[in-house]
């Protein structure tokens, strides 16, 4: 269970998050919707531990642990996964090697046995097949020369391999065509279960046709202004953020 209480954060002296209260119980998928500049990406970065944000108040607990006190790699090893809005290119780093290094770093941190190259390849091929992706993806440098859709697919492949208990999807739907959107959604839906929860951050309702959320929250100007069931997403789509948040 992820519990966010009174979270405030600023970047370069500018307050972005102005008191977020949010609970994502185990097994649930929650969507956060909001217009540009409402603080959606800041929230995802603060939760995943990116530098450059000053947390000025509040707390975030994750399965009883103080999430904000953990290094980004510790959060990952504890089962938190951030799917990036803009996946980073790593020239000179092979994708297969990167994925195995990441997987083994997490396993090592949890005191589990590392996966050897052969076992990893078998696992990766299995996941690729499930996600209708080509093995070719493993041979390339991480995200280098990937199309927007390929980068997002690579995020989903990583998520499938890491098998997290909490996934934050930061506008994973931006710039995706319908096919890619379907693959990304299938990736998330495949992980769905009593031990998996997710925070799906999006500007549009479209993604939520594929990943049906248990709860929807509206983020405006650094605060959650409204929460509801999945029908709230449709209402937002029909009426726009101004109307829906005032209702």
């Amino acid at each position: 269970m992820l519990r966010i209480e009174g979270l405030t954060a600023e970047i370069e002296g500018k307050q972005i998050l102005k008191g977020i209260d949010l609970e994502v119980p185990k097994g649930e998928i929650h969507a956060i919707m909001g217009p540009n500049g409402s603080g959606k990406s800041t929230l995802s970065y603060v939760l995943s531990g990116r530098e450059g944000y000053d947390i000025t108040g509040g707390s975030v607990t994750w399965n009883g642990q103080d999430l904000l006190a953990m290094e980004p790699e510790e959060r990952a090893a504890a089962g938190l996964f951030l799917a990036f809005q803009y996946p980073v290119e790593l020239p000179g780093v092979g994708n297969a090697n990167f994925l195995r290094t990441a997987l083994n770093a997490q396993r090592r941190a949890r005191g589990e046995k590392e996966v050897d190259a052969m076992a990893f390849l078998k696992l990766a091929r299995e996941k690729l097949k499930k996600l209708h992706m080509s093995d070719e993806m493993l041979k390339r440098n991480v995200n280098v020369g990937f199309s927007g859709g390929e980068k997002k697919r690579n995020e989903v492949l990583q998520m499938a391999l890491m098998n997290p208990s909490m996934a934050i999807l930061d506008e994973t739907d931006s710039g995706l065509d319908i096919d890619a959107l379907r693959i990304v959604s299938e990736g998330v839906n495949a992980l769905r279960g009593p031990d998996f929860s997710s925070l799906v951050i999006t500007h549009y309702q479209r993604l939520l046709n594929y990943i049906v959320p248990d709860r929807v929250h509206v983020l405006m100007d650094g605060r959650i202004v409204r929460s509801g069931g999945k029908e709230l997403a449709e209402e937002l789509e029909a009426q726009g953020y101004g109307q829906a948040s005032a209702a």
Partner: protein, 423 residues
């Protein structure tokens, strides 16, 4: 005589004692070359930082050291690594060790073939280190490939073997490819870790019409050593000189390359990587002379610096008026891993032709925080993430080299560098 010229004084007085005993003493032309070198050195001394080309590299430590010549190797030969190629040429302290080498056809010690090679020894043109080499050289590789000959890959080892006291050696390598000949030379220079020595090689290279010379140099001198190398290559129509130099060792290293593209469609590649750790100084200085039309040139030099270190890149491209349709590209990238590291980069384009495509760029920076965060968000600890990104920079720097023997030599020098140097 200023203080720096005084630094050359030791070399000059040693030359005066040795001049009648040096190889080629009976050859008028070789004697003249040596005297000319001595005159250049007398006039200019070792270059000081007031000379524009030497602004960033201070030779004071070389001037201050009291070098002597290496004694003729006696006793046990040093243990050699397993050969990577069927033909290997081994130099000990600048002298070709025939008993340790598997000489390829058309190769010989320069000292034995000076009469045949003397016309290929280029004048120093006022360059003091070339003058020093001309004055003092004893030996080198003379490789004279006939027309159409494919020599395959030849390995060269330059080993500082007897550096218990400060020694200086100045090998002269003369390499000529006749039309259509092909050669890949993979050279590795090494020496004992704590020994002070000067390795001052000069290369006279001629690449004839349609010939291709791939020249890979892996510099892994001992960490108290100086290497000051000068390459002068002339490339005829349709020929290619493809140089890749890795600077990884030494205390103070300068790698100077001059390439002249003399005929249409001659090509030059002058790529390189410099791994500069605490206490090291590495300088890559190149001069590319486009003296004929339709010539492509490519240059990418990547430098990574750790600790208190300094890197230099000076790259001058001259496009003469005759050199229409020149296609030039130069890129210089530096990765600074410490606040005490410094890189001085000076690209210089001088273009007199009007129909020219010449692009150049430079980047200098630390590790990208976005890339670091991406790796850490995937569970990779910060230290390991940094090592991955440094290795990626190095991998990219050497990936243009395709010869497998060269790749293996580079890989050995590059792998684990960060783990060794950053700890």
């Amino acid at each position: 005589m200023n203080a720096v010229t005084a630094g050359a004084g030791g070399f000059i007085s040693r030359f005066e004692g040795l001049r009648d005993r040096l190889p080629g003493a009976e050859l008028e032309q070789v004697r003249a070359l040596r005297e000319e070198g001595a005159a250049t050195l007398r006039e200019k001394g070792l270059p000081g930082r007031r000379v524009e080309e030497w602004r960033y590299t201070d030779l004071a430590p070389v001037a201050q050291a009291q070098f002597t010549e290496a004694l003729t190797a006696v006793g046990e030969a040093p243990a050699l690594p397993a050969p990577r190629a069927p033909h290997r040429v081994v130099f000990l302290d600048g002298r070709l060790a025939e008993h340790l080498s598997q000489l390829p056809p058309h190769a010989a010690p320069l000292s034995a073939r000076l009469e045949a090679a003397q016309d290929l020894l280029a004048a120093d043109h006022g360059m003091p280190l070339v003058g020093l080499n001309a004055m003092m050289f004893e030996d080198g590789l003379f490789l004279d490939l006939p027309e159409g000959r494919d020599a395959g890959t030849i390995e060269v080892l330059n080993i500082a073997a007897h550096a218990e006291r400060p020694i200086a050696f100045h090998p002269r390598h003369v390499i000529r490819l006749a039309p259509g000949a092909q050669l890949t030379l993979v050279e590795t220079s090494t020496g004992p870790a704590g020994a002070t020595y000067l390795h001052n090689p000069v290369y006279d290279i001629r690449v004839a019409e349609g010939a291709t010379f791939t020249h890979v140099r892996v510099q892994r001198e001992g960490r108290s050593a100086f290497q000051l190398s000068t390459i002068r290559a002339r490339v005829a129509a349709g020929g290619t000189y493809d140089n890749f130099t890795l600077n990884a060792g030494g205390r103070l290293v300068r790698n100077e390359i001059h390439v002249t593209l003399e005929g249409p469609k001659a090509a030059a590649h002058m790529n390189g990587a410099q791994l500069v750790a605490d206490g090291q100084h590495a300088d890559t200085t190149t001069f590319l002379d486009h003296a004929a039309p339709d010539c492509p040139s490519r240059q990418t030099v990547k430098t990574v610096l750790a600790g208190k270190s300094r890197g230099v890149f000076q790259g001058k491209i001259l496009v003469r008026q005759v050199a229409q349709r020149t296609d030039g590209y130069q890129m210089n990238q530096a990765l600074l891993l410490s606040e005490e590291a410094e890189i001085d980069a000076k690209p210089q384009l001088e273009i007199y032709a009007d129909d020219v495509r010449c692009s150049h760029g430079a980047t200098v920076g630390a590790l990208d925080p976005e890339q670091l965060f991406y790796l850490r968000a995937r569970g990779i600890p910060a230290e390991e993430a940094r090592a991955i990104l440094v290795q990626a920079f190095l991998t990219e720097a050497v990936e243009g080299v395709t010869d497998p023997i060269a790749q293996a030599a580079l890989e050995e020098a590059v792998s684990g560098w960060w783990e060794r140097e950053a700890a």
